[in-house]
C-alpha cells in the first residue's frame, strides 16, 4: 500500500467500513487529497466489476457473512473477527484464518483501508454510537435522581468526551442540529453540584430529546427491523461486557464508573429489544425465547445504579450471556 494512498483514504476518518467507491480493483489509484467521506453513492451501481470491499478489521459479522458464504466455511465470520487486528489483508492467511487458495478467491473483496461507510453499515455505526450515548444518559439520570451528581457527572461527560467527536460528521451529514452545546451545558450544571434541580432536568430533557431526534432521522423501517436492532444491541452489549470486566478486580466491583456505564448500555439494550421482541417471537419463537431469557438474566447483574460490593455473577458468566444473545441474534435474518 502506498503511504500517500493510505492518508488519502484515512481522511474519510470513519471506522466501520464498506468500500463502495468505484473499484477498478486497484485501490492504490484512489489517491485523494480531499476528505473522501462522501464517496459517491452512484458508484455503487456503476458496473458489473464493482465489488463492495469489506474492511476485515471493522466490518460487522453480517458483512463478513458475505465472505463466509462465498467460501462456504462455517463460522468464518466469527473466526475473522476473533483474529483481529489485521495490518494487511494477507494476514488472513498468515494468521491461519483461511488458506492461500481461499484467500485468492476473496482478495478483491477485502481491505484494511479506512473506507467510507454506506448503507446499513453506516446506519448501524451511527445508531450504536447514539445508543451508547443513550445508555450513558440513562444511568446519569438514575444517579441524579438518587441525589448523586458527583457520580452522574462522568456519565454525562462520556457522550461528549468519547462519542460526540466520533459521530459529529454523520450528524452534520444527516442534517441533525448540533447538540454538543446542550450536553456540555448539562455537564457544567452537574459538575457544579446540580443545585438547581429544575434547570438540570430541563437541560437533561433537551439533551435527551436531541439524541432521540438524531436517532429519529433513521428510517422507521430500519429502526424497527429486528435484524438491524439486534446488531445495535450487539454493539452495546459488547461494550457493556468490556466495561463490566474493567469494573471488577479480586471478585469485587472496584470501579463504579465502568459498572454504571455497562448498566446503562444494558438498560438501553432492553428498551431496544422491547421494540422488536414481538416480531421475533412471531417469526422465530425459539430464538425470541432464548434472547429474552438471556437478556433478563443478564440484566440482573446490575441490581442498583450504585454498585453492590460484590458482583452478582462472575464476569465469565456475564460474558457468556452476552455471547448467547449475540449467537442467537445471528439467526435473525
Amino acid at each position: 500500500m502506498k503511504a500517500s494512498t493510505f492518508i488519502g483514504l484515512c481522511l474519510a476518518g470513519v471506522s466501520l467500513s464498506i468500500l463502495s467507491a468505484c473499484s477498478n480493483s486497484a485501490p492504490t489509484t484512489t489517491t485523494s487529497s480531499a476528505p473522501s467521506s462522501a464517496s459517491p453513492a452512484s458508484a455503487d451501481h456503476a458496473g458489473m466489476s464493482h465489488a463492495k470491499k469489506i474492511n476485515i478489521n471493522n466490518a460487522l459479522l453480517s458483512q463478513l457473512d458475505k465472505l463466509e458464504a462465498k467460501l462456504g466455511i462455517p463460522s468464518l465470520s466469527n473466526k475473522i473477527q476473533s483474529s483481529r487486528p489485521y495490518a494487511k489483508s494477507e494476514e488472513l492467511v498468515s494468521k491461519n484464518v483461511i488458506n492461500q487458495a481461499q484467500f485468492d478467491q476473496i482478495k478483491d473483496m477485502v481491505t484494511i483501508e479506512e473506507i467510507a461507510l454506506t448503507g446499513e453499515a453506516k446506519d448501524l455505526d451511527y445508531m450504536v454510537k447514539l445508543g451508547l450515548m443513550k445508555g450513558h444518559m440513562y444511568v446519569a439520570k438514575e444517579l441524579l435522581n438518587l441525589g448523586k451528581p458527583d457520580q452522574a457527572e462522568p456519565h454525562i461527560g462520556h457522550p461528549v468526551e468519547e462519542i460526540y467527536a466520533d459521530v459529529e460528521d454523520q450528524l452534520k451529514e444527516r442534517g441533525v442540529k448540533e447538540f454538543k452545546t446542550s450536553l456540555m451545558a448539562l455537564q457544567e450544571l452537574v459538575k457544579a453540584g446540580a443545585k438547581d434541580k429544575a434547570k438540570v432536568n430541563a437541560e437533561f430533557d433537551t439533551s435527551m430529546k436531541a439524541i432521540d431526534g438524531a436517532i429519529a432521522v433513521l428510517p422507521e423501517a430500519q429502526r424497527k427491523s429486528p435484524e438491524f436492532v439486534i446488531q445495535v444491541m450487539n454493539g452495546l452489549l459488547d461494550t457493556a461486557n468490556s466495561e463490566y470486566g474493567a469494573a471488577i478486580a479480586d471478585g469485587k466491583i472496584k470501579e463504579a464508573i465502568e459498572y454504571q456505564d455497562s448498566r446503562g448500555f444494558v438498560a438501553y439494550s432492553n428498551e431496544l429489544y422491547k421494540g422488536i421482541s414481538s416480531q421475533i417471537a412471531a417469526k422465530s419463537p425459539d430464538t425470541g425465547k432464548k434472547i429474552s431469557v438471556a437478556l433478563k438474566e443478564l440484566t440482573l447483574n446490575w441490581p442498583t445504579p450504585v454498585p453492590p460490593a460484590a458482583p452478582v455473577k462472575p464476569t465469565e458468566e456475564v460474558s457468556k450471556l452476552i455471547k448467547e444473545i449475540e449467537t442467537s441474534g445471528q439467526a435473525i435474518k
Partner: protein, 337 residues
C-alpha cells in the same frame, strides 16, 4: 472480565535460550531475535545481570517486569515499501489487573498488557504504521508527540471493538511519547495508556547502555490525587531490584515524566551529575550538567552519565513524597573486572 496481564517475555531467558528461535519457542521469541540483530552494535555494551536485594515475590504477583522493560525497545515488524523502511506495530487497548503493592490491586487500561506501554523505537524518516485495536470498553485513541498530519493526530476516539491504523513519518528525532487522548485524559493516562516513542537521529548516538525510565502516578481511590508513584509501572520496584550497570560505562537514560495530577517531578540522581539533552533533540551531547532536572507532565529528556564509584546509588524525584510513595530506585554499579 479483567484479564490478568499476560506474561511479559523475559528477555534474559530468551537470550539464555540462545537458539530459542530455531527451537521454536514461539513467534514472540523469533521477533525478539530479529530485533536483537538490528541492534547488534549494542552487543558491545556490558549489561550486568540484576540481582534482587530481597528474594520473594517483588512483582507482587504481577507478571510485568520493570527490569525487562528497561531495555526493551520495540522496533516493530520491518518491511520495505516503495524503497523506504516501514515499521509496523500492533497495539491493543484492554483492561487488566495490576498488583501495585501488597495492599493495592489496580485495574489498568493498558496496551498489549503493559504499563507503561511498549517503548516504540524507529529511525528518523521511517514510516510508522500503528495498528490500534480497542478492546477496552471505553473509547480510546493514540496520540503521538512529534510531527504528523492532522488526521493522524489521534484525538478522534476509536470506540470499543474498532481498529484504527495510524500512519506517519517518524520525525523529528528525539524522545517522544504517545498516549490516549480521550477525555478525561488524566484518567486515561493515569490508568496506564501511555508509552515512550524514541526516534533515533540519522547518525546513531554513541554507544551506551540505554535505559528507559517512565515516572507515573496512581490514583488508587479515585480522589484525584496520587497515592502511589512508580518508575516503569510498579511502585518501589527498583528499590528491591536495583538496576545493575557497569562501572565507567556510558549510561543513556530516556526519562519521561508521565505523572498526572501533580504539576512536576524533579528527577534526581545520587552522587553524580548527568548531562541534559532536552527532548533528545541534540544528536550528540547534552547541553548542561546537573543532578536535578524538573520535568512537567509529558516532559522528557535524555540524561547521560557514568559512575566511577561502585555500589548502590539512588534515583528519585526530589518531591520526596513521590519518592517515598514508590518512585524511587537504585542503580547498582558493578565493578569492572
Amino acid at each position: 472480565m479483567s484479564q490478568p496481564i499476560p506474561a511479559f517475555w523475559n528477555r534474559r531467558k530468551i537470550i539464555q535460550a540462545g537458539i530459542g528461535a530455531s527451537l521454536g519457542i514461539g513467534g514472540a521469541a523469533i521477533a525478539w531475535s530479529q530485533r536483537q540483530s538490528l541492534i547488534s552494535p549494542q552487543a558491545a555494551v556490558k549489561v550486568p545481570s540484576t540481582v534482587p536485594m530481597h528474594h520473594g515475590d517483588r512483582n507482587h504477583g504481577s507478571s510485568i517486569s520493570p527490569t525487562d522493560m528497561l531495555r526493551d525497545f520495540d522496533r516493530g515488524t520491518v518491511t520495505q515499501e516503495n524503497g523506504r523502511t516501514v515499521r509496523e506495530f500492533k497495539l491493543v487497548a484492554q483492561s487488566g489487573e495490576l498488583q501495585l503493592d501488597k495492599g493495592n490491586k489496580f485495574i489498568t487500561w493498558n496496551l498489549n498488557g503493559r504499563v507503561p506501554a511498549p517503548t516504540l523505537r524507529a529511525n528518523e524518516g521511517d514510516r510508522i504504521r500503528i495498528v490500534f485495536q480497542n478492546k477496552g470498553g471505553h473509547a480510546h485513541s493514540l496520540h503521538f508527540h512529534g510531527d504528523h498530519p492532522a488526521n493522524m493526530d489521534g484525538i478522534k476516539p476509536v470506540r470499543n471493538g474498532q481498529v484504527f491504523i495510524y500512519e506517519f513519518d517518524a520525525k523529528p528525532f528525539g524522545v517522544h511519547l504517545y498516549h490516549c487522548h480521550v477525555a478525561p485524559v488524566t484518567r486515561h493516562i493515569g490508568k496506564g495508556l501511555y508509552g515512550m516513542f524514541i526516534v533515533d537521529p540519522p547518525t546513531p548516538r554513541p554507544l551506551a547502555d540505554e535505559l528507559v525510565l517512565i515516572m507515573a502516578g496512581y490514583d488508587v481511590n479515585g480522589d484525584d490525587k496520587n497515592e502511589l508513584y512508580a518508575f516503569n509501572g510498579i511502585p518501589h520496584y527498583y528499590m528491591h531490584n536495583p538496576i545493575a550497570i557497569q562501572q565507567d560505562q556510558l549510561i543513556r537514560l530516556y526519562v519521561l515524566n508521565m505523572i498526572e495530577l501533580d504539576i512536576a517531578a524533579t528527577f534526581h540522581l545520587h552522587a553524580n551529575l548527568f548531562t541534559v539533552n532536552q527532548t533528545g533533540r541534540s544528536p550528540t551531547v547534552g547541553s548542561y550538567e546537573t543532578d536535578v532536572i524538573t520535568m512537567g507532565t509529558a516532559e522528557r529528556h535524555i540524561l547521560e552519565f557514568k559512575y566511577h564509584e561502585t555500589g548502590k546509588f539512588m534515583f528519585h524525584p526530589h518531591q520526596d513524597f513521590m519518592a517515598e510513595a514508590g518512585c524511587m530506585g537504585y542503580f547498582d554499579v558493578i565493578a569492572n573486572a
